[in-house]
């Protein structure tokens, strides 16, 4: 009994606020958020991406996204564009890694060409949107260092507010402030600060739903660029989990037939 208690204390130790530095507590929150979403195996979803400029003019993209959970490394993903029609069939294969740069291949259907692209450029805009490649790629714990800031009620949710610092020198950000709700460890909001430490963008997620009784996914993600007045809204639908996708569904060959 005593042993069990000891074990229990050890397990819970990273979550107890006392005797923890803000760095340790920030990391513990990120680790717990990662642990809670582990085990989804694979995930399919459809995405509508709505780009809006400061005059309110909109343009729309349609994508299909497939994600494979990889044990011991970052996730693999395959995104296929259906609209606009001139990029119909353009597809991006991405292997994210816990450390170092991700691997990315782009398929250009008109040329039937698969191109390995320089993914070090993670601060680049993803298909003209306000989301940078690094914002949409798999969020691995190891990609940041952390610091717990405070507790706060955000949008009715009792939340942790933590700060995280990208490890990668090619990141476009100096720091990010992240709001994570205490009940389910869902990311509710992120403030992105550019390399000059001025507020660049704010991300907010809405309409979270629980899948397979442990995996929370939002229906909407909004990214507002404070410096340009532009915004991008991602509307997610048709989430499916554990569909039986395999490594062979995430190859350069599968990229060519994703259309």
């Amino acid at each position: 009994m005593k042993k069990t208690l000891l074990l229990l204390t050890l397990c819970l130790w990273p979550l107890s606020a006392s005797a923890q530095s803000p760095e340790e507590k920030g990391l513990a929150i990120a680790v717990e958020a990662d642990r809670r979403d582990a085990g989804f195996k694979d995930n399919l979803a459809d995405m509508v991406m709505i780009l809006k400029n400061k005059h309110g003019e909109e343009s729309t993209r349609l994508l299909r996204v497939a994600i494979l959970e990889v044990n011991g490394d970052g996730d693999k993903s395959l995104s296929v564009f259906d609209e606009p029609r001139d990029v119909n069939g353009t597809a991006l294969l991405s292997f994210s890694h816990k450390s170092g740069t991700d691997d990315q291949w782009l398929y250009l259907p008109a040329l039937k060409r698969v191109k390995r692209i320089a993914s070090a450029d993670k601060s680049g805009a993803f298909m003209g949107s306000e989301f940078a490649y690094e914002d949409i790629s798999s969020q691995e714990v190891e990609k940041y260092t952390y610091k717990y800031l405070r507790d706060e009620i955000h949008d009715g949710h009792n939340s942790f507010v933590i700060e995280r610092y990208p490890v990668d020198k090619y990141s476009g950000y100096k720091r990010q402030v992240v709001w994570i709700d205490k009940a389910e460890y869902r990311t509710l909001k992120i403030d992105y600060y550019d390399r000059k430490d001025s507020l660049l963008k704010t991300f907010t997620a809405r309409g979270y739903r629980e899948y397979l009784s442990s995996h929370w996914r939002p229906a909407e993600m909004m990214m507002v660029n404070h410096q340009t007045g532009k915004s991008t809204l991602l509307k997610w639908s048709n989430y499916r989990f554990r569909t039986g996708l395999k490594e062979t569904d995430f190859t350069q060959e599968s990229l060519k037939r994703a259309q």
Binding site: L44, D46, V48, L51, N53, E57, S59, T60, L62, R64, A66, D82, E83, P84, R85, D86, V87, N88, G89, T101, D103, L111, K112, R113, V114, K115, R116, I117, A118, S119, A120, D121, S123, G124, A125, M127, G128, Y170, G172, S237, N238, R240, T243, K246, T248, T251, Q252, E253, S254, R257, A258, Q259
Partner: protein, 397 residues
């Protein structure tokens, strides 16, 4: 409201493609375009014009079933040119049945395959015949009949090809621009193979990713896609000679940080003395250039052909410098500028390609190619008056 309904319907339709159910899903897509080519300089022959209008259409029908593990694709292509009867042409770009299994994929039918990594030219790419009436850059291809089995394993991907039915290279007609000084006579085409166009070609390519390296090794045996052009007895026309060749190719890319280092090399046997040709260089990308969201890519390559002056290509000892600009805006505005300069003669080939989306279904493209300083022995000499500007507007569906 209507657009929202349309969106919803599309999302619903698209979601079927990943659905586990056995039902299939068909989709029609494609494009139609009007193109205007303007040649500022008068041609060598009075038959040739200075302005060419043409229209092209390429629909594509795809039917997928078994969760996308099987599909059928049909993509015909047609162009109608105002003056050049050879540029008015029809081709089946794709007519393929695909079956994807565990660790293998089988493709049967007509299609296009691309190999390679470099930007200035595509040495290793050999499966398809170039559709040279479409464009000089050789990136438009004629559909090639094939049986293609891909084995996707731990040790890499092995692609095996059997290629029945040779496609002759298409050249502009006598009323067209961008042609050789002597007109081409495809009817007198000479084949080394006794079976002519019926020779069964084969090819294999192994490719693998090793961390930052992507490597491909290939071999092709069959009728050369590139002919030797020899004048006929009367010296009135050029006749394409298609040799039987063996060609071994290597393509490699090292993706390091913001650098892409690229290499393509071939060794060809059977077209005169065997020879080596190499293209290599780099592309360096700067994201968020000058505080904007634009990407700027700087490209430099060296092009070598061991045959020197006897090469069938103008690029035997040439440098290429280029710049790629992607604005990353909602209209996907982008431009690519490049120049290839002969190291000895200074003869140069200039290239500009730019495009911008208009609304959600239209795209405007501009293309310009220029030829300068070619000597009489240079294959580019025949094109010295053919610098052009091309405007195209295309609708996608």
């Amino acid at each position: 409201m209507k657009s929202h309904l349309f969106l919803l319907l599309r999302v619903a339709a698209l979601s079927l493609s990943w659905a586990p159910a056995a039902q299939g899903q068909g989709e029609l897509s494609g494009q139609a375009a009007v193109e205007w080519r303007i040649f500022p300089r008068q041609a060598q022959s009075p038959e040739q014009q200075r302005s060419y209008l043409s229209v092209a259409v390429q629909p594509e029908y795809r039917y997928k079933w078994e969760n996308g593990k099987q599909s059928f694709t049909f993509a015909p292509f047609a162009r109608l040119d105002q003056h050049d009867s050879e540029r008015t042409h029809f081709d089946i770009r794709e007519l393929t049945w695909l079956k994807a299994g565990e660790g293998w994929e089988l493709r049967l039918g007509i299609r296009k395959v691309f190999w390679g990594v470099t930007e200035s030219q595509h040495l290793v790419d050999i499966i398809n015949q170039s559709d040279l009436v479409e464009n000089l850059d050789g990136e438009d291809k004629l559909g090639q009949p094939m049986v293609n089995l891909a084995l996707i394993r731990r040790w890499g991907t092995l692609d095996l090809f059997v290629l029945p039915g040779f496609r002759e290279r298409k050249f502009p007609g006598h009323k067209g621009r961008l042609r050789t000084a002597l007109p081409m006579d495809n009817n007198q085409a000479v084949y080394e193979s006794r079976r002519g166009r019926g020779h069964m070609d084969w090819a294999a390519r192994w490719s693998r990713t090793f961390g930052e390296w992507d490597v491909g090794l290939s071999h092709f045996y069959g009728t050369s896609r590139e002919p030797r052009l020899l004048p006929d007895v009367g010296g009135k026309a050029l006749i394409p000679h298609y040799d039987l060749i063996h060609q071994t190719g290597l393509d490699a890319q090292w993706t390091k940080g913001k650098w892409l280092w690229k290499l393509e090399a071939i060794r060809r046997f059977g077209q005169g003395a065997s020879f080596t040709a190499v293209t290599g260089g780099f592309e360096y990308t700067l994201s968020n250039f000058g505080g904007s969201r634009a990407d700027v890519g700087l490209i430099a390559e060296y092009l070598y052909d061991q045959r020197g002056n006897k090469a069938t290509t103008p690029f035997q000892d040439d440098f290429m410098a280029g710049m790629r600009l992607a604005l990353n805006d909602a209209q996907s505005s982008e431009a690519l500028f490049g120049v290839i300069v002969d190291r000895r003669t200074g003869a140069s080939f200039l290239n500009l390609e730019a495009s911008r989306r208009l609304g959600s279904r239209w795209k405007f493209s501009l293309e310009s190619r220029g030829f300068a300083g070619a000597r009489q022995s240079d294959p580019l000499f025949g094109l010295r008056r053919d610098s052009y500007l091309q405007l195209e507007i295309a609708v996608y569906f």
